[in-house]
């Protein structure tokens, strides 16, 4: 347990006052705390490093910890110093802020540690000086991106669905994370397959096939087998439409979904087909329709749902938007300049290719990107000179923004890899947390076994007493707290093994005679403590009632009150029976019997207690089963 949390223990123990009036048994005696609790303090300054400064210096900023009266909480009377249990290295920067008025960010420190120190001392990070502000912001942004990705990855993928999700939510989840269910996976692969089929069909359509009989010209396959291609296209569009409509239905926010990039791509991919269907056979318009076929190329973008690499690429491009913009702009400038120059240089030549400035654009681009097709070459000397300058500058202009883009891509790619690694480590981490929790519980159980609750005066010097003493006072108090909780509820903590052992043993003879069932779970009843089974003499004959008995250990002291109205008890007379209890004051000595399966409480089925007229509308039953027998424990 974290050391900082240990200091909250008095609070947790104080909060136990809420259990006292409810407790079924008396609270155990608290452990005797021999040493005075106070002493973690009492040294010099910030973790041993002494700092000295004028009071005025600190008073300059009265809205921080050091400048206000809050520091009195940290004043140590004995040594007459203010003691802070914080990082001394960081404190140097904090104090420099008071001295110089500028807060600097130490580059070698972790950004989160720095932020925590600032929060502790009450300093707002906005006052970081200009010299360090940019570094601070960059690191902070990186950290937050990382955290956002982590939480997104956690939430998005393998968290199990909440139990009451509607079919719509489940459908959406199936679409977003296909590996959660087999149906989703199947659908995922089917759509992927059809995207591929559609793209390949588009491509093959244009390949020249052998011509029909009696014709010399090569026909593109699309026209030769037009029916086949049409059928394939129809099938693909149907699948895509179906998928789109399903996604639209399942989306938690339909407007947001419709505006998202993927949905726009989906629409654009299938629109041409439908437009073609409804288009009349008008010659002019059908020409336009033919052009819409081009939009079918968008279908290939649907693959980005299936490939994470594509998404990373897209995200990289988005994040490098400014660099790309700069590249484009500078290239355009250079192209226009050089094209103009080349045009005027080559204007005089006969039969030149450089017929206009836009025509020279082609030459400039080909030269600057070092492609050099050679379809347009300058002939004049001036043209050649400017041409060589053009190719040299092209290399420079393109090479400049590229490293920025590359580094962005690498950063994002590594982040993605980190997300995958984190997911793999998640399981290990969870296992570790579970182990730690079990450790605490086991410590408590061991403590109980060694009879730690007995009065220490009775202890003779033996091994177990020594073991007890080795525990810290914190552990004593924590165990006392858990023990109080046990006494409140009259149940005891056990470990998983004992618990499952208990549930395995079945006592056949003790079925509930209850007809209205808790739910489908109540097939068999188990008795969880076989040695007590003999004491359970009573089986309820009441057909509408089941009693579950919890506290077996205390059966000796239990006295069950059975009201005279027992056999005819109906649910609606529950409250009436509590009135009857006043009359049946003598305790009768039988212990009640039935244990139902200790499965986690089911969602309540159908029963609801009709509000009794005696108690005006207050009693409402929100649980599935409830007892019709009130039990009076003698200790209360």
């Amino acid at each position: 347990m974290a050391a900082g949390v240990a200091t909250w223990l008095p609070f947790a123990r104080a909060a136990a006052v809420g259990w006292l009036p409810l407790a079924k048994k008396t609270m155990p005696k608290p452990p005797v705390d021999k040493k005075s609790r106070n002493d973690e303090i009492l040294f010099v300054n910030v973790s041993g490093l002494r700092f000295q400064t004028w009071k005025n210096t600190l008073d300059r900023y009265p809205d921080t910890l050091l400048g206000s009266s809050e520091k009195e909480f940290f004043f140590n009377e004995d040594t007459q110093e203010y003691f802070f249990d914080r990082d001394p290295e960081m404190f140097r920067h904090i104090l420099n802020f008071y001295r110089t008025g500028k807060l600097h960010y130490p580059r070698q420190e972790c950004i989160q540690a720095f932020d925590e120190e600032l929060a502790f001392y009450g300093i707002v990070p906005d006052i970081i000086g200009d010299c360090c502000m940019e570094e601070y912001r960059d690191r902070k942004k990186e950290n937050q991106e990382r955290l956002a990705e982590d939480t997104e990855a956690e939430m998005a993928t393998d968290t199990p669905l909440p139990p009451h999700s509607t079919s719509r939510e489940r459908l959406w989840r199936a679409f977003e994370n296909p590996h959660t269910s087999t149906m989703a996976l199947v659908f995922y692969y089917v759509t992927g397959f059809f995207i591929a089929v559609s793209v390949i069909a588009n491509v093959v359509e244009t390949v020249p096939c052998r011509p029909l009989k009696g014709s010399k010209k090569d026909l593109p396959c699309g026209e030769k087998y037009s029916l086949a291609f049409f059928c394939m296209d129809t099938a693909c569009v149907l699948i895509f439409t179906f998928e789109y409509l399903m996604r639209l239905f399942a989306a938690p926010s339909r407007c947001k979904f419709m505006r998202s990039v993927m949905s726009v791509i989906d629409v654009v991919a299938i629109m041409p087909y439908y437009i073609g269907l409804v288009m009349p056979e008008n010659e002019d318009v059908s020409g336009a329709f033919v052009t819409l076929r081009v939009f079918r190329v968008f279908r290939i973008f649907k693959f980005s749902r299936h490939s994470q690499g594509l998404r990373i690429l897209g995200y990289t491009l988005k994040s490098c938007a400014s660099e790309l913009g700069f590249l484009l702009f500078s290239l355009t400038m250079a192209i226009i300049i050089f094209a103009t120059v080349m045009f005027y240089a080559e204007k005089g030549t006969k039969g030149t290719n450089f017929t206009s400035i836009p025509a020279s654009f082609w030459y400039t681009i080909v030269t600057m990107t070092t492609l050099g097709y050679g379809d347009m070459v300058p002939n004049t000397i001036a043209g050649k000179i400017f041409g060589s300058i053009c190719s040299l500058s092209g290399v420079l202009v393109i090479a400049l923004p590229v490293p920025v883009i590359v580094s962005n891509f690498s950063r994002i790619y590594h982040q993605n890899q980190r997300a995958d690694k984190m997911r793999a480590q998640q399981k290990v981490r969870l296992a570790r947390i579970r182990l730690a929790k079990k450790g605490t519980t086991n410590a408590f159980l061991q403590y109980k076994e060694e009879g730690g609750f007995q009065n220490k005066l009775q202890y003779t010097a033996n091994d177990s007493a020594l073991c007890l003493k080795n525990r810290s006072s914190f552990e004593h108090q924590h165990h006392h707290l858990l023990h109080c909780l046990e006494k409140t509820t009259n149940h005891e903590f056990t470990d998983e093994l004992t618990f499952s052992e208990m549930c395995m043993t079945e006592s056949v003879g003790y079925r509930t005679s209850r007809s209205t069932s808790i739910s489908s779970q109540q097939g068999v009843t188990t008795s969880c403590c076989p040695r007590r089974a003999k004491r359970r003499a009573i089986r309820l004959a009441n057909s509408t009632v089941s009693v579950s008995r919890g506290s077996v250990q205390e059966l000796d002291t239990l006295q069950v009150h059975k009201t005279s109205a027992g056999p005819q008890s109906s649910r609606s007379s529950l409250n009436a029976r509590t009135e009857d209890l006043k009359l049946n004051c003598e305790d009768r000595d039988f212990t009640a019997a039935i244990i139902s399966i200790p499965t986690p409480p089911a969602n309540t089925p159908d029963e609801s207690l009709p509000p009794s007229p005696a108690i005006p509308g207050i009693l409402r039953n929100s649980r599935s089963s409830f007892t019709h027998e009130t039990v009076k424990i003698s200790s209360l």
Partner: protein, 234 residues
């Protein structure tokens, strides 16, 4: 008219190139918007900062029954977990859950939080924290019972109803967790509540008022004895 038509026909040939032009034009705008969105989203990382400072040590010493040393001790613990000076409910639940590893203490922590947060602003300041603790740990028997009563009475109407008590009871049982012996059946909390009401509700009107509560508790020797253990907690 036909001239314009002819011109248009020339410009947009009846094959795919027209579509290509359209493609280019149409895709420019969304791409531009998409890029701009990529840039602007970088500015979204807000640095928010909340800080709360408690009253001075002197004032707190007067208001509560803790000594200066004890207040210092408590404040250091408090500030360590919550440097901003206030606890919000999630942090509170997290801290409390560390003491009960087996069960789920979030509901009980929620009730506790509400009981301590006297000004109902959703955060627990050090003052509220220390005021509550002072009442419990240094208060009289009456103070403690009073605090417990207000803890149970959620809506602060002066009556504890069965439903309020059932909520508390369920949250306590949840803290025990699953692995308990004997296993907790579904109706145990309700049964416990009924027993409680049977003891506390004198006039059988289905609610427990504060007088009934205090009177019944004072009559019960066990409760009184248990209450005394709080004298030595801190």
């Amino acid at each position: 008219m036909s001239q314009a038509h002819g011109f248009l026909k020339q410009l947009l040939p009846a094959d795919e190139t027209g579509g290509l032009y359209v493609l280019m034009l149409l895709s420019f705008f969304p791409l531009y918007c998409w890029f701009r969105k990529g840039e602007s989203s970088e500015e979204e990382f807000q640095i928010s900062f909340v800080c709360h400072r408690p009253e001075g040590l002197q004032i707190l010493e007067e208001q509560t029954k803790f000594s200066k040393r004890e207040l210092q001790f408590l404040y250091r613990a408090f500030k360590n977990e919550c440097p901003s000076g206030v606890v919000d409910e999630d942090v509170f639940k997290l801290i409390y859950s560390q003491f009960f590893p087996q069960g789920d203490s979030s509901n009980y922590a929620h009730f506790l939080f509400e009981a301590f947060d006297t000004n109902k602003n959703g955060c627990l300041s050090f003052q509220e924290f220390v005021a509550g603790l002072s009442l419990i740990l240094r208060g009289s028997m009456y103070d403690r019972l009073n605090w417990a009563f207000h803890f149970y009475d959620h809506d602060k109407d002066g009556f504890i109803t069965k439903e309020e008590m059932l909520n508390i009871m369920k949250s306590i049982y949840e803290m025990m967790g699953k692995y308990v012996s004997p296993p907790i059946q579904d109706d145990i909390p309700r049964e416990h509540v009924d027993r409680f009401f049977q003891k506390m509700d004198r006039n059988r009107d289905g609610v427990v008022t504060i007088e009934e509560f205090i009177e019944s508790c004072q009559k019960d020797e066990n409760i009184m004895r248990s209450m005394r253990l709080f004298d030595s907690v801190f």
